[in-house]
Amino acid sequence: MDSDCLSLLPAVCLVLADPKQAPPDDTSLEKLLDWFKELHSQSNGQVLLQDQPCLLEFISSVCTSETTDPAILSFTLKLTGLLAATKQGFHLLEEGGLLLCAFEREACYVCDLWEDASVRSGWLQGLLNMLKHQKSLDFICRNGLIKVVLQLQNDRSLFVASLANQLLVHILNFLTSSSTTNGSDAVGSSVSSLRSDWVSVSSEIMNAVVEALSSEDHPQVLRGLRLLSLVLSQCGEPIRSMLWKDVLVPLEVLIKRGSESLTQTLMTVLQAADTSARPVEELLEAMLGDGNRKECFQCAALVVKLEKCPEVSKRKATGIILLPLQCVSTQPQTEIETYLVLNEQLSQKASCISLLMQSLSSLAELAHRKFLFEDISIHSITSSVVWLLRMCSGQCPSSLLRINASIHLIGCCKVQRCGLDTLGALSVYEENVDLRKDIFGVLLDYLQSPDSHATVLKKTFQAAVRWIAVCSPFPDLLQFISHDLFPVLEKRMCDLRWEVRDSTLEFITQLTTALNGNSGFTEALHTSGMVSVLLSSLADTEGYVRASAVAAVGEAVTASFHHAATERNSSLLEKALTQMMIALSQDTEGFPRRAVVKAFTSWLKGSHPVTALESSLSSVLSLGGNDFDWEVKMHTLELAEVLMEKTLTCCPYIVQNVDFSEKTRLTQALSRLKDYGLFDLLFNSLLDCDRPVCEKACALLVRLRTLTAETADLDHSALVLNVCGNRWGDEVQSRYLNKQQA
């Protein structure tokens, strides 16, 4: 194909270079460039330019024309860079004077086209493409292009500025890598290992960074910091240490000056620097300050998230980031009075909410890593979160008398959601189980409150599942579930909002899974009437809710398998099976039907045989296989897979007879599978219009074939004919033909 395209290339070049022709849109130019890239990568040393002289003419005509379209020029610059990436290509282009023509400093300025951001971006991208060998770097240095790149770092277009930064980093990287490969010194060599003319280049760039950091102009400082963080994270030695040494002083000045808008970028720089190094620790220390500056909270939140961070700094940051939470929700401490800035921030609604959210999410982050708190007990932290959640629902006053934060917080969904997430995360600390009464109390309040937003309820459920899982060994948990939780859940399943009904059902499913095997829970599920509520939810008007109800019922049935087959259990199974079969055959929406098949699969996977399901299996396979929703078909194939596994490996439904030979056993198993209609399903699915369905069916058939092949004493032809009345290949073919005809 490439050769066909190449033959068209001269004509394409002519069209592109023709200023009278309207330029093609950016996308096609990008695609063309991609094609060149691919060609270039496959060229194996062959030089495209030699074979395609039209490219040289094209570049020359575009770069010298004064009426070129900016998009074409930008494309040409990128292309030129790409072509110059090999030494031979570079040589050819330089020989023709085309490189200078395209990238020369003066050439850039004289032309009005430079005003167009796409041209500047193309110019930078071209240089970036070219920078694969020393000669290209020489070219850049020799022609003073570094200065232009440094200027473009301040470009009004964000894309251009970011590209300029990338190019500068690339140049610095290239300087070090070329010198270490060429030079005799090993890695870690000092600046002397750089070629003398390159030393000036690196110092030019680094001086620019230092200058930017020392500037009074805020945007310039910001740009300097961005480049600095890029260099620190992407460049190797000795550039890193050289630059770090130079920027330390201006960085210190910046941090001391303290500006909230720089915090994030400064933190990125510190993160990129080796955080374990002594100066970084000091800088972090300085940024955190004494906890009495506006920006220290944001900084602390970022420090908490740092992966590698000096322990001292992390402890300090943790102390600071917890302050807002403690300030609002614990007893007043005299020392808190000294945090004037914090008091002021907490008295304003917007900053109060944002500070508390930072505090809570940092706490969740710490809990996620199971951070060991030293100065403060995890009990008191957890109690603070509980207190804050109570405050958000209007039940508690804020403790610090001077700040009436509760006015801002009552009914504030953001803080509620964040607080509930954090409360859930705090379940990892075992010592917190002592607080379970308070925790379940506040969670129950949220579940009961008529004003709880649907998303808040969802978070409450998530937190509740985590805590219930942790507290499952405690006997009082069951009391809480059956006396307090179930009545609320029952009401929530009748909620006006389908989202709430849905998340309630999801929660019940998770709860049943988490307490799987807990006989008390299963008993409560039945005696409290929850099961009948679940069954009635199968008829909800909303498809998603029906799907969740199916999952919940499925899980409730699974839970009942663990206990003696009572009349109650079999009646539940019977009711569930009937309603789920109705859903599979009649539900107008895909989600409930998918859920039904998934539930059956999970029943089948379980260690307890579900005899009642066996009689319905062939209907399930046939209904599921003929469903018009491809996901239902996929789930049905998954069910078929489990069925195959169960039937072929242990045949739970057959009384094992030791006298049976392997052959008889397999034949019987296959014959059972045939009775279920499994082969019909597989053969039909093989020709399905949805590719994943075909692939899955194919994989299952292949597995079947392998299995039969492995059984050495099996007479294949007999078995196959016996099972299907036809050979597989013929079977597939005949079905295919039938389908074609239909």
Partner: protein, 693 residues
């Protein structure tokens, strides 16, 4: 042409030895009375207000709400003979000293009055109710005491209300009367009210206040007579006695509900009663006209500030669905108009989605039919969304469809058709929310024993625990979902920030957090300046003075004026005229020329004689500058002047002449004994610095 006259004693910068007062001042002086506006608070109930505003020469009653919570002290009135209630033991004090077996019955550990329920009326002794000129009604819940006020008090004024307020108010009153008259009680209990006896009664009867002012319900005749005094108003201005204008504004709370603006030319009082910013069925609240009020009287905020109506509606629906699914019945004690329309609309959408489509709803009230029908015909008073439905072939409220499809059935009472068509499980909406009278009493007796049934309280007016007290022990589930759509504190503080009244007057409970939640400082009004709080029987002098009055000049008088410019853009003229005040309108007329006295008439009619006309002296304006004045004195040979600075200006002591000249901001006095020529000379020197009119 109009001029303003100040009612205050304000001085212009004129300075002259006070020898005469020009006529114009004299005319204005007759109007110089410092007038305070007064507010008499006849009810302390924040949502059932009854206040009287004395403004200019009018006496305006703002709402007359009836506090029916007193009914909770009484035994329920069963529609069908109740063996339980009829067999209750009478109450005798422990020592047997007080025996009120006939009047008080013990029921479920509490003592109730066995008599027709009574209500607590607005205070009648605070001012003479016969002096009330008009009563402004803001919504149908706030007019239930009207017959008590307009009948038997000598009231001769007019009542202003919108049409839906009148019609639905009439329904509610008729319903109340029917509830009472259907179950007549032979005698009224009064002995227990005796102070000495009441002291000995168990709580909460012991603590009931003002029991002697409680009255039993009015009659249909009184309702008709009271409502015949109502004059209908639309949302447009009405003038009262030429003195003030009253304007109802849509308040968004119920059909035809309104806030009122009472204003004169220079003063504006806004009266905000039950208002709502939620999108329910009524026309939305008009807010901008409330701007620039001198005083805003704020009543009728939500009674349950912690219950958000949306959440409560959700709670209502889920509890209802839960009960029906479990095979139980739902009882909703409610008023026959108002939130019930929204409840029905919400259920209309919910029942199908909750798979409860076949459950019947029953609405039982003597006025059920009229209430459902009226709501459909007041199209112009509905929200935009419902108004637009008038042009479609569908009624504004979906309850019409519920009726058509037989899902909602309404009956005047449990007797008659209802008993034969009644099917369970069902949802019954019926009154009265106090559970003391009305058909609801029957359902409480019928369904109270089964835990499958649920009673859902949606009206916020009564404590549900008190309402349920005579039905204990109760097996049925109780759910409290008070739906109060009136403004909450958050909304009202936003509103006040927006409309910026100079002063706010409100019931006392709004100035502190709810007693049950002392930490909720967000549930109170925090304003600068702090609001003026009132309670029952307060008389408030409203904190602003009327300063100006509008006076009209007749054209011929205006023509005779000679304005002279005292500074750029300000011209002043003196007026000599006769001020005529009639019907609160003030007109300056030319002074009639004295008619030649006919010699034949012997008798002189003193009263009709026009006032004597004097030639007015010119008015002066300006200030006497100290330094130039001293220079002027020096020029005129007065050299020895001692100047002393005072709080108001300067005192000049002419030592040789022994004369004192007091130069003050608004007056100049020359004190000089027995030297008229010198006084005149000095006066002329002063006059040189002043402008004459």
């Amino acid at each position: 042409m109009r001029v303003c006259s100040e009612l205050n004693d304000t001085h212009g910068p004129t300075a002259e030895e006070k020898t005469s007062v020009p006529n114009v001042s004299r005319v204005v002086a007759s109007q110089k009375t410092r007038k305070h506006m007064k507010l008499y608070c006849l009810s302390g109930h924040p949502t059932l207000p009854c206040n009287v505003l004395k403004f200019k020469s009018t006496t305006i009653m703002l709402d007359c709400g009836l506090d029916t919570t007193a009914a909770l002290y009484f035994l329920p009135l069963p529609l069908v003979h109740s063996p339980r209630l009829s067999k209750l033991p009478g109450w005798v004090s422990k020592d047997g000293a007080v025996n009120l077996e006939k009047e008080l019955k013990e029921c479920s550990g509490r003592v109730f009055v066995d008599s027709q329920p009574e209500f607590c009326l607005p205070e009648k002794e605070l001012l003479d109710l016969s002096t009330i000129d008009v009563i402004l009604i803001s919504n149908y819940h706030c007019m239930m005491a009207l017959p008590y006020i307009t009948e038997h008090t000598g009231f001769t004024g007019t009542v202003y209300a919108t049409e839906p307020t009148l019609q639905i108010g009439r329904l509610l009153m008729e319903e109340l009367v029917t509830f009472m008259e259907r179950v007549p009680k032979a005698q009224a209990a009064t002995c227990w009210k005796n102070k000495e006896i009441q002291r000995l009664l168990p709580g909460p009867l012991k603590d009931a206040v003002d029991v002697w002012s409680w009255r039993k319900c009015y009659s249909v005749q009184e309702v008709n007579s009271a409502l015949s005094k109502v004059q209908l108003v639309g949302y447009s201005q009405k003038e009262l006695f030429g003195a003030v204008q009253v304007t109802p504004l849509s308040s968004g709370y119920s059909l035809g509900s309104s806030n009122w603006i009472i204003q004169s030319h220079y003063e504006k009082v806004s009266y905000v009663s039950g208002s709502s910013l939620l999108t329910t069925h009524p026309q939305p609240m008009e807010q901008s006209s409330l701007k620039n009020s001198d005083v805003l009287i704020l009543t009728g905020l939500t009674q349950i500030p912690t219950a958000n109506p949306d959440g409560m509606l959700g709670e209502f629906c889920s509890n209802l669905a839960m009960t029906i699914r479990a095979g139980g019945n739902v009882l909703v004690p409610c008023y026959s108009s108002g939130v019930i329309y929204d409840l029905l609309e919400c259920l209309y959408q919910f029942m199908d989605s909750a798979n409860l489509g076949s459950t019947p709803f029953y609405f039982i009230s003597p006025v059920a039919n009229s209430s459902l029908e009226f709501s459909q015909i007041f199209a112009e008073w509905l929200c935009q969304n419902k108004q637009s439905k008038v042009y479609l072939p569908e009624p504004p409220f979906p309850h019409a469809e519920l009726i058509q499809t037989n899902k909602l059935k309404h009956y005047p009472s449990i007797h008659g058709d209802f008993s034969s068509e009644f099917r369970q499980p069902c949802v019954v909406f019926t009154g009265h929310p106090s559970l003391r009278f009305g058909d609801v009493v029957h359902f409480m007796e019928l369904w109270g024993k089964s835990s499958l049934n649920t009673i859902i309280f949606t009206e916020p007016d009564f404590s549900y625990l008190d309402a349920l007290a005579p039905y204990q022990p109760l097996a049925m589930k109780c759910v409290y979902c008070p739906i109060d759509t009136r403004l909450n504190f958050h909304q009202v503080s936003k509103l006040l920030k927006d409309i910026q009244p100079l002063h706010v007057v409100c019931p006392e409970p709004y100035t502190q957090p709810p007693p049950a939640q002392p930490h909720r400082s967000d549930l109170m009004l925090e304003l600068q300046p702090p609001p003026m709080a009132y309670r029952r029987c307060s008389v408030l002098g409203l904190p602003f003075r009327r300063r100006y009055e509008r006076i009209h000049l007749l054209p011929e008088l205006a023509r005779s004026l000679v304005p002279s410019e005292i500074k750029a853009g300000v011209s002043v003229a003196t007026v000599s005229a006769v001020l005529q005040s009639k019907d609160n309108k003030h007109v300056l007329q030319p002074v009639p020329k004295p008619a030649p006295v006919p010699p034949s008439k012997k008798r002189k009619r003193v009263t009709e004689e026009p006032p004597e006309v004097l030639n007015p002296k010119p008015l002066l304006s300006g200030a006497v500058p100290l330094e130039p004045f001293l220079a002027m004195l020096h020029k005129n040979g007065i050299t020895e002047v001692k100047v002393e600075e005072t709080a108001d200006g300067h005192i000049l002591h002419l030592q040789t002449e022994d004369v004192l000249i007091q130069l003050e901001e608004d007056a100049t006095h020359i004190i000089c004994d027995n030297n008229e020529p010198l006084r005149t000379a000095l006066r002329d020197l002063v006059l040189r610095f002043l402008q004459k009119l």
